[in-house]
Symmetry: C2
Subunit: 330 residues, 2 copies
DNA sequence: TTGTAGGCGTTATCAG
DNA sequence: CTGATAACGCCTACAA
C-alpha cells in the first residue's frame, strides 16, 4: 500500500465495498450504524483523506466556487468576500480566489481560466461583462452571481446596488443641507466612475456646477485623497460639498483639509463611500454611504447554494439597501 | 453533441487524436505548427474549455494551491495574499482561499478539508501547528510554506520573521530614545501575544515596568485601540512609550490621545506594527514596524513553485527583514 | 443496507 | 510528430 491511501484501501481495511466508504462520507444516514463505525475507524486508522478531485470528476460537482474581485488590497471587497467565504465554508464549499486588478480584459481571461476548474458556482464583481463572456458563462451552465453593481439584465443572478442612485442620493443630501458648490474626488474604475457620473448628473439637475479634477488611481489610497485635495484646494472658492468615491479618499481629503486649515464641515463638507471602519472610528467620524457588504456576500452565497444544491429558483435580482450615515463631516 | 464540449469533440473536429489536443494545450512545442493551428481553430470554434478536474485526476497535479490565513477583514494579511495570488496566477495556478478566523482548531479542520482537494502546494499562516497536522501534511506529501512567523523547525518551508525579535527591537528603540515607562496594547492571538511577550521580556531586561491592560480582540480594529487607550490613560503617569500589536490599534490610540489632549510624542510615544498605509499617510504619520508582506507572499509563491515544478530544493527557512520606521509619533 | 459495473474527461506511457 | 491504451480515484445507476 505505497502512496496515499485511497478509497479501496479504506474499504479493504473495513471489509466493505468502496461504495460503502463513499456513502459513509457523503450520505452517512444510508449506512447502518455498525458499518459506519467500522468504516470510520478504518478511515481514521489509515489516515485516509478522500480525493475530491476524483469525486468531482465522477459526480460532476467540484464543490468549489470561484470568486473574482478586483483587489483585496483595499478594504472595499473584503467584507463581502469574507462573508461569502464563511457562508460557503459552512456548506462544504471552497472558494477559489481570482484577482482581476480592475482590468476588464484580465477579467475575461480569469473567467476562462476559472471555468477550466469546473466550479459549481461563480461570483463576479460588477455586472458589466462582454457578450463573449456572457456566452461563455451561459454555455458553461454555471450559476453566476454578480455583486456590487446593478444591471437591468444580470448575466444570471445579481445582488447589488445602483451606483448612480447612491451618488444621486448623496447629491440630494448635500442640496437638502443647503449646499450650492460641489466637488468630487473619484477613482477611474468603472464603478467609481458610475458614482462620479451619477453625482455630476444630479448636481447638474439641481443647476449647480461641479469641480472634478479627474480620475484617481484604482484602488485609491489615503495618500491619493490627500494629494487630490491639496491639488484642488485652491479651486474651492466658498463652502463646498465634496463626494469621494471611497472612504480612503475621504479620509485622506479630511486629513489634508485639517493640515490646510480648512474648516470641516464649515468650509468643506465631506461624504465618503463604503462605511469603512475609519469613517466610524476616526476623528472626526465622517459622513459616508453605507452598503452592507457582509449581507451582500452572504446573500450571494445563499443564492448560489440554493442553485447548486436544489437547483431551486431564486430571485434573479436583489438590490441591497444603502444609506447615508450622517456624521460630523457634513 | 449535447452538453459541454470535451477533448474528444475538439479532437474529432480537428481530425486528430485527443492526445494531440492535450499536447496543443499543455506542450504546444511538441506539436507541428500546422496541426497546432488546426486544433486551435477547432477549440475556438467549439468553445472548448478544458476540464482541469479530469486533467488533475489523471496527471495528479491540480494546479491549485491552498492558502489559509486568519482573516481578510484586517489589512494584515492582504498584502502577502495579494502578492502570493498574483505570483501564482502568472504560473497558471489558482489559489484556494480558506479563512481560519484565528481559531487554531478551525485551522486543523480547514487543512484537512483543503487536502481533500489535492492542492499542489499549501500556504499556512503561522508556524505553530499540532503534531497531528504536521503528520497529516507530511503524509500528504504536499509542499508547505509557513509565513508570518518563525520556527526553528518549520513543517516544510518557512518565509517569515520572529515576532519576539521584532518587539524586542521596538523596546530597544524606545530605550535608546530615553524612555523609562512602557505600555502595550496587543491582541490576544498567538502572534500578537508573541509580540506582546517579546516586548515585555525586553522591557523587563532593561529593568523597567510595563503597563498591559490585557488582550484586545483579534483582529483588532481602530475602535479597539481607542477604547483601550481611554481605559489605560489614567494609569499612564509620566511620559510613556506604547507599543501596539497592529497599526489599527496604534491609530486608534493616537486618535484617542488627541481627543484626551495627551501630547504625542511628548507625553505618549507610540509605535505600531504592520506599516499599513494609515501609518504613513495619516496625520501625524506614526512610527511602526515594517515587514515586507508583499515580498513574503512573493517568496512563498516562488518557493512553492520551485518545489511544484522542478521539485527543486529551496531554502528551508527564509527570514525576511523588518525595520522600525521612525516617524512623528516617537 | 450493501454491492457491482461502468464511466467521468483527461494525461502518462509506450509504440509507430 | 502523432496515436492507442490504460489508468487516475471516485460516484451514478442499478441490482441484490
Amino acid at each position: 500500500m505505497s502512496g496515499v491511501a485511497k478509497i479501496t484501501d479504506a474499504a479493504a481495511a473495513a471489509g466493505v465495498a468502496p461504495m460503502t466508504v463513499s456513502r459513509v462520507l457523503n450520505m452517512p444516514d444510508r449506512v447502518s450504524g455498525a458499518t459506519r463505525l467500522r468504516v470510520q475507524e478504518a478511515i481514521d486508522r489509515l489516515g485516509y483523506v478522500p480525493n475530491l478531485v476524483a469525486g468531482g470528476l465522477s459526480s460532476r460537482r467540484s464543490r468549489v466556487v470561484a470568486a473574482i474581485v478586483p483587489t483585496i488590497a483595499s478594504p472595499m471587497f473584503n467584507e463581502p468576500l469574507q462573508a461569502f467565504t464563511d457562508c460557503l465554508d459552512g456548506a462544504g464549499y471552497r472558494v477559489m480566489l481570482a484577482l482581476s486588478g480592475y482590468r476588464p480584459d484580465a477579467e475575461d481571461a480569469l473567467i476562462h481560466a476559472v471555468l477550466t476548474r469546473r466550479p459549481d458556482g461563480l461570483l463576479l464583481t460588477g455586472a458589466d461583462h462582454s457578450p463573449a463572456v456572457r456566452r461563455l458563462l451561459r454555455d458553461a451552465g454555471v450559476p453566476v452571481v454578480e455583486i456590487w453593481d446593478a444591471a437591468a439584465e444580470p448575466t444570471d443572478m445579481l445582488v447589488g446596488f445602483d451606483h448612480a442612485e447612491v451618488s444621486a442620493a448623496v447629491a440630494d443630501f448635500f442640496v437638502a443641507a443647503g449646499h450650492t458648490r460641489f466637488a468630487t474626488l473619484a477613482a477611474g474604475d468603472a464603478r467609481a466612475t458610475a458614482r462620479r457620473d451619477g453625482f455630476a448628473r444630479r448636481v447638474a439637475e439641481h443647476g449647480f456646477a461641479l469641480t472634478d479634477p479627474g480620475p484617481l488611481p484604482s484602488p485609491s489610497l489615503i495618500r491619493d485623497g490627500r494629494l487630490a485635495l491639496a491639488a484642488v484646494a485652491a479651486r474651492l472658492a466658498g463652502r463646498t460639498a465634496l463626494f469621494c468615491s471611497s472612504d480612503l479618499i475621504a479620509f485622506g481629503a479630511l486629513t489634508e483639509a485639517r493640515m490646510l486649515g480648512i474648516a470641516v464641515p464649515g468650509s468643506l463638507a465631506v461624504c465618503g463611500f463604503g462605511d469603512f471602519e475609519i469613517s466610524r472610528s476616526g476623528e472626526p467620524a465622517f459622513t459616508t454611504v453605507s452598503v452592507d457588504g457582509a449581507a451582500m456576500g452572504r446573500i450571494a452565497a445563499e443564492h448560489l447554494l440554493a442553485r447548486m444544491t436544489d437547483g431551486a429558483a431564486v430571485a434573479r435580482r436583489v438590490l441591497v439597501p444603502f444609506r447615508i450615515v450622517a456624521r460630523a463631516s457634513t
